[in-house]
């Protein structure tokens, strides 16, 4: 009986690992959230012109969703669009490329998003799922 249980568990574990290593990653599976904090505009107006709120370059992978939350009291331009106060803008990326956007949250007015290919089936995909599961 014990052998059967071990065999069943081993089979289940192998199936789980196989799925994690091979199953395609759907768009929207991972969200990267960045926030434009409250007071950004006021600090700019007060003279902090070199204020850096967001990283100059954000690195993502295909199928990731970039989420930008505007917690400031003023609208901000992200790429070709406005994000109003209290609003979050979620942009999925389906193609690997380097994107340059206008962005008023940056001192130089530009945000770069580097989108790398999705993890390949096998070890890369397994590791991607493990990182996501553990939040690392």
């Amino acid at each position: 009986m014990r052998r059967i249980v071990f065999a069943a568990l081993a089979l289940l574990a192998a199936a789980g690992l196989g799925w994690a290593a091979l199953a395609p990653i759907p768009t929207g599976a991972r969200e990267r959230l960045f926030e434009i904090p409250a007071g950004t505009s006021e600090r700019r107006i007060a003279g902090e012109h070199d204020l850096e709120i967001l990283p100059q370059t954000i690195r993502l992978q295909v199928h990731d969703v970039l989420a930008l939350r505007n917690a400031d009291a003023a609208p901000h331009v992200f790429g070709p669009t406005l994000i109003m106060p209290g609003q979050t803008f979620r942009l999925p990326f389906r193609q690997a490329a380097t994107y340059s956007f206008l962005c008023t949250a940056h001192a130089d007015g530009q945000l770069n998003v580097v989108v790398e290919p999705a993890p390949a089936p096998g070890w890369e995909r397994l590791r991607w799922r493990w990182d996501r599961l553990t939040g690392s």
């Binding site: 014990r2 568990l9 070709p80 406005l82 803008f89 942009l91």
Partner: protein
Amino acid sequence: MRLAAVLALLVAGLAVLWLVREQVPEPALVAGAYDPPRPAPAFTLDGSHGAPVTLDRFRGQVVLLTFGFTHCAAVCPTTLATLAQARSALGERAEGVQVVFVTVDPERDTVEQMRPYLAAFDPTFVGATGDPATLATVREAYGVTAEREGDGPDYAMAHTSSIFLIDRAGRLRAMMPFGHDAADFAHDLNLLLEG
């Protein structure tokens, strides 16, 4: 012993199911989505169909709002052809979709200029123009930029190439960056028509 084995299998099975379920996201728009959506900024412009263009007029339809100019060599024709294909792909549901093309070049884009230009892509497309100050206000409300390039008669306009998706209740729901194909638009239009 047998009970413990069954429980162990059950727990392991549930763990795998949880993992699989956790990886599958809710159906979402291909376009960049605003959360929460806000009412789409209103405007009144001169329409190529012979009547004023307002968003209220299209309430109950999904509006695809795009900015461009008829002398555009590449981006605008590509966008308009893609939107026409997307409407075709929707079949009968296309009646619920209205494309509005707001010019960034009022100097050359009169309603007479826009009407045949847009009809070549899809006879239902509506062009919108107005005085430069009014058009600039509309662009600002949507975060759209437009800048003249060149001084001669063949000048071009560098402009935002994204397409805004406005739902049937008049809310600005999403923004599709340039470069997506008709299938992506059809996907999102179907979601907005159902919502």
